[in-house]
Amino acid sequence: MKTIAKSFSDSRRVFLKTSAAVGGGLALGISLPALAQTKDAFAKPDQVNLWVLISPDDTVVIRYARSEMGQGSFTSAPMLVAEELGCDWNKVRVEYVSTNANVVSKRAWGAMNASGSQTIRSSQEYLRRGGATAREMLVSAAAQEWKAPASECTVANSVITHVPTGRTVSFGQVAAAAAKLEVPKDVKLKDPKDWTIAGKSMPRFDIPTTVRGKQRYGIDTQLPGMVYAAVAQCPVFGGKVKSLDAAKIQGRRGIQKVLNLGDFVAVTADNWWRAKEALKLLPIEWDVGAYGNATSATIMETFRNGLAQNDLPVAKNTGNVEQGFAASAKVLEAEYFTPYLAHATLEPMGCTALMKGDKVEVWVSTQNAEASLATAAAAAGVPVENVEVYRVQAGGGFGRRGTQDYTRQAVLIAKTMPGVPVKALWTREEDTQHDFYRPASLVRMRAGLDAAGNPVAWTARIAAPSIIATLSSLPLANGIDPQAVIGFADQPYNIPNVKVDYAQRNGHVPVGFWRTVGHSQNPFVRECFMDEMALAAGRDPYQYRRALLKDKPRDLGILDAVAKHAGWEKPAAKGVFRGIAETDAYGSYIAAVIEVSPTGKDAAGKDSFAIRRIVVGIDCGYAVNPDNIVAQMQGSVVWALSAILWGENTLKDGRIQQSNFHDYRMMRLAEMPKVEVVIAPTGGFWGGVGEPANAPIAPALCNAIFAATGRRVRSLPLINHDLTMKKA
């Protein structure tokens, strides 16, 4: 493969050829809900509206609409299609759907974003239906040929068998005939207990390419005549370029353009290193705007002021909390804080763009190809039909790549040099300091317990920025950001009087969706406070929860499964202390038990502890690719621990103080504790798996630390409490 561009046009050619060969195969646009409105696109089967494609040689091409960024759905989504189709899994190939075709056809392939752990749960129905529809058509075609009823035929491994006579025919042989048949309206889906592909651990399609070093990410885009751009944005969010002194770097080797693009500066060169080095030397004066004095403390002040308000928007109000508190024998109150956090995908933000006349092409690691397309169109000032977005694997997404600021920049630069492709790339420092951060959040919890220790009143007041209001610039419905109050407003425990209210406190720090979003922080607060309540009640934290979850079989089920696996009913070994937590998240139910041991003072005189074991369990309804679920859970634990132990972005002079991995610490292999994953799918619903496991780790760990040290941690990260982790 010489260049990415070539490989893309190759795959397009292959596609056209396969489309042209439709006469010899079955090409099927499946019955998406959206197709009702897109009859036109669907009516012409030789167009790009194909979802399942079967060639005469039995090859099955399954088109995939969302993005792969490590979560494995490039494999698990097609597994559901293949399951219903009854094809030989070894003959399956997966291709990305064209973003442009999807946008032009008004979403014939549905939504393309990969976020909210939703690829399986919100696509499973049409993926399965698509496979089943194709299967029925193939069977009908075979049955017609045999002049036998379709009900006498069975399907396995791409082969249709007429049971009474033993005759067989392969999918490829009847695909052409099947393509001429009417698309059936109602198809029967398999009972998951009869699955033969889904539910089995299937190796991921992308891994062999990755280990050979041949996986290509956005950063690897290489086009003929391409120039490289380094960018600098105002270190204070919202600031603008006041002036720059281009002469200072003009004439340096390889430097081409120095561009003032309003809210950012770009330097282009014949390689990225030269551009970046020159940019470092470029004198830029910034107009930092109104927030040049903001600090973490001033932001905290706005949160505190939020907690002090009365008559805040109410997210939940059941019973009467005033009466509940009045009737309580004991009232507990505590404040919890979680900080801003950058995503730090290992591949930094970047995008390649090419403008030719009124057409734009974009090569980008994205979680939301449609957003990339819309952003590129807006930046270029062209209609969306004139834009194509080529997706490549993303070097991590975690929510960062749904926001397309970096795509906008690349297009704005490309606009200044029509016909020349531009690859814009951020440094790690730029990436750390110009994120859409997980919002910081300050929460005040109160609980009133009766004489027996049971909760009679429970309130949560949250002061935090709103992601939705910030990203959409629209006012919130009823003043509530659902992600800010999630886990509180829908808390599962049987408590008669509950009130949750929210003080929206948007500062100048951009906020966004960070893996696990509200569930990355709210379960920490809720489940640690639940431990405080259990302690005040003098009860075992597991049993205390159990009693309050009587009517919540799925919460209770996963809590029990994890407690059982961890051996909670037996006392912990000497010197070992345990913490437990449970929550729902992304349609799944998730619990953890963590065991720690105090390990005395570390070299710096700080209290240290060792994590002996993490047991984390999930009930995701159906487990489509179990080994991939295990991988997502293991990865989520690492994600959680980096944040719990060290993760924090602080502000001074309006800017983020951390810049790279030396001061925004990530967990490494030597620090990896033992993780045991329990997958306990109970069926009947579809839950996400990419994000939930992050949720119970912080509370289970902090509850264990309390058990071990008597120190109740109410803000993260632990390093601010002089608590460090040692190897077990």
Partner: protein, 157 residues
């Protein structure tokens, strides 16, 4: 002009001596195996071998590679056969996004060269690359598997 080999082939680059090897490989020679993650030697995504030694190429000047043999992830495969580390990475389904993995694999190959039968402690000490997806739980057993496979292979040879 700096001359060296990349995966056995002679290459040359007319660049500043202080230009990091990573950017010479990626932007000048179109070798996209090594990745950019931090630029300050923290993450290891850019790891390559120079005369058999593991280096973080973002922090290694091209002048240091002059006259030497540079091997990237794409040079591990021999005659269409994967390196035992690559095979073990498939067997254990290690990668998630995969972006760190060329660096992880180069570090693991280097470890096994020095310690064909590494202990867990050896793995802790050698594998300091960052994986933001958190694949560590699979890297460790994959290295043990690769060590066993390599031992078998050399016993046969």
């Amino acid at each position: 002009m700096f001359k060296f080999t990349v995966n056995g082939k002679p290459r040359e680059a007319d660049v500043e001596p202080e230009m990091p090897l990573l950017w010479v490989l990626r932007d000048v020679l179109d070798e996209k195996g090594p990745k950019f993650g931090c630029g300050i030697g923290q993450c290891g995504a850019c790891s390559v071998h120079v005369n058999g030694e593991l280096v973080r190429s973002c922090s290694f000047p091209v002048s240091g590679a002059a006259g030497k043999q540079v091997v990237t992830i794409e040079g591990l495969e021999q005659k269409g056969r994967l390196h035992p580390v690559q095979q073990a990475w498939i067997d254990h389904q290690v990668p998630q996004c995969g972006y760190c993995q060329s660096g992880q694999i180069m570090a693991a190959v280097s470890l096994l060269k020095k310690k064909p039968n590494p202990t867990d402690k050896d793995i802790d000490d050698a594998m300091t690359n960052i994986c933001r997806c958190g694949t560590y739980a699979r890297i460790r057993p994959a290295i043990h598997t690769a060590a066993k496979a390599a031992a078998k292979k050399s016993a046969k040879a």
